[in-house]
Amino acid sequence: MEKNKKIEIVLAGHANVGKSVTFNHLTGLHQHIGNWPGKTVAKKEGTLHYKGYDINVIDLPGIYSLTPYSMEEIISREYIATQKPNFIVNVVDSTNLERNLLLTLQLLELEKPMVLALNMVDLLKKKGIVIDYEKLQAILNIPVAPIIAIERKGFTKFLDSGIELVNKKKTAKPLKYSQEVETCIKELNSDLHNIDLPYPRRWLAIKLLEKDQDIQKLIWEKRAEILNKATNLSDRLKKIYGHDSSTVISNERCQLVSRIVKKTIKLTEPIKLSWKEQLDNLTCHKIWGYPVMIAILACMFLFIFSLGNYLSGFLEIISLSCQSWYENLFPSGFLASLGWSGLESIIALAAIALPYILPFYLILFILEDWGYLARIAFLMDNFMHKVGVHGKASIPFMLGFGCNVPACLACRIMETQREKFLATFLTTLIPCSAVTVIIMGLVGKYVGISWAFALYFFTLIIIFILGKIASKILPGKPTELIMEMPDYKRPHLRTVLMQTWQNLKEFVYIAGPLVIISGMIIEVLKQAGWLKLIANFLSPITVSWLGLPAAVGILLILGILRKELILVMLATVLGTTNFAQVLSPAQMITLAIVSIFYIPCIATIAVLLKEFGWKKTMAITIFEITFAIILGGLTFKLLETIL
């Protein structure tokens, strides 16, 4: 065996089959997350040293087919075809083999070396499923390895057989469809002779019959006449089968899979699964499902906020001792205070990440691994449709009440760019924990708790209205909810911790640089004495239109860093902690409304930049600033007359 030979493998499979767990266990902490070139989809890559091989492992996004339904699917098939990984590991959920094999058949058609990793084989017995691995291997003609990803069992088997495939240069062979379809494929196949594309010819022929628009375009650029032939053959298939040719091909695949399943799987009585069904009868119940959901979410928020409060108090002490230590070290000077503001930003970042985002992620991933998030999407789909997105968006919305940053990142679960943008836009408006601090600490304390709740309710109505309008304005049609419903299972601690760690790391990477830089910029402005100038410059808006003291302009700039700073610094700026002495109720409510909407905080802006680029980020930011000013002014004028 050659020493330290480099090979590259890709993990491909549906979402929720344990692909990420497999990836995590294969690569441990030797992984990095970037973006796919030119795309806003995360690319996960890691390395593994195994038996003298340096194996580069790529975790493809979860996909259901190689039809471009979403960005993920386009990326996956392009990657496999053009980057030529040494072998593909198709991870499948063995308890759901029939649906998973539909993708397997399509991957076989890419004619690359491939192994099938049958995950969750430990659950088969409970579900009363027996799989004949040998037979499955014989039919698919690729190595089949039963694995238990969460326990890291069976990994060596698929790595060994994959490496063997590479050495023997053995590629997967597609399975044959029925006579009529095969004839059509063959006819197209011979026409595609000599065409200069990285995909196998047979695969191209099948995609043409499936009327895949991306492939049609590729062929059109090379040899347009083939498209006519493909159309003729599609029509022929339609005549024979009475369905559209793309339906015919899918049907063929399903029939092949059914036949494979019949030959390789035996079903017996499942051992006691009923309590999970009972649980679903409760959690998805048309009436009881909602109180249960509210109770679960309430517990979640209660836990997070109480833990968050405790931890941030603790962090404040650390921050103060850091400050005194720093001031002893560097007593004074411009650079010293600039340095401190950088350090302070890092501490501030930790003060968001540790007390709020960490517990948030932890609980979110426990709920996800348990299977509950899909139930929330099911229960909330109808409400979400009212604002132009489907049920999956309820997950980022829910997260948004804690912190907009992970919430905006969670909008990645939306399938189309339109839905993702819409969901993200609305998420940035959701009052996060920092905004809650302002609402409760200012309005709740000095105007009355009922006003605070009214303000909360008002915010939700505004989000609802803006969602309605945005979904009308944005081009494209709303998509319908299609998602799988996983069975409940016991959350796996290691998986949850790993996911939490990775997402926390991502948060720090994305938000960190911008938070630190803008912290220092604001410090420079402060040192140069420009903050007051800016506040004066803003006074036509803050004083004349919003009816607030001019000094509030400074707060609104500081609030870009972290919104709760608006409340924290208010006392310093106004020179008293009893805000009722200096601000009227109308002013306090106006300030709260402006704070809620006026800008996504800098960390959220960083996420928007990463996910959507400059233009859309600016569009959201500018809209929110304008909207907050208009709304704030109107509120002030209205409240002044009635309060």
Binding site: S250, I482, M485
Partner: protein
Amino acid sequence: MAKDISLIDLKIGQKAKIINIAGGRIATKRLLDLGLTPNTEIKILRRAPFLGPLQIKVRGSKIILGRGLAAKITVTTE
């Protein structure tokens, strides 16, 4: 007696076979990829209230479908 109805009119627990999916091109393809092809047996497990989505069982797995899409699936009961 066989009867062609829309999937949303199917009773909970009643078995039916898919006849046709008349959704948009992409959504239809997605359903096909999930194994909802003609002649496949399908069952409704649950409905969300307020005209929400359906939970269906098809080819041994559970899928949630938005009501608008489910309305475009024609099934036949036996």
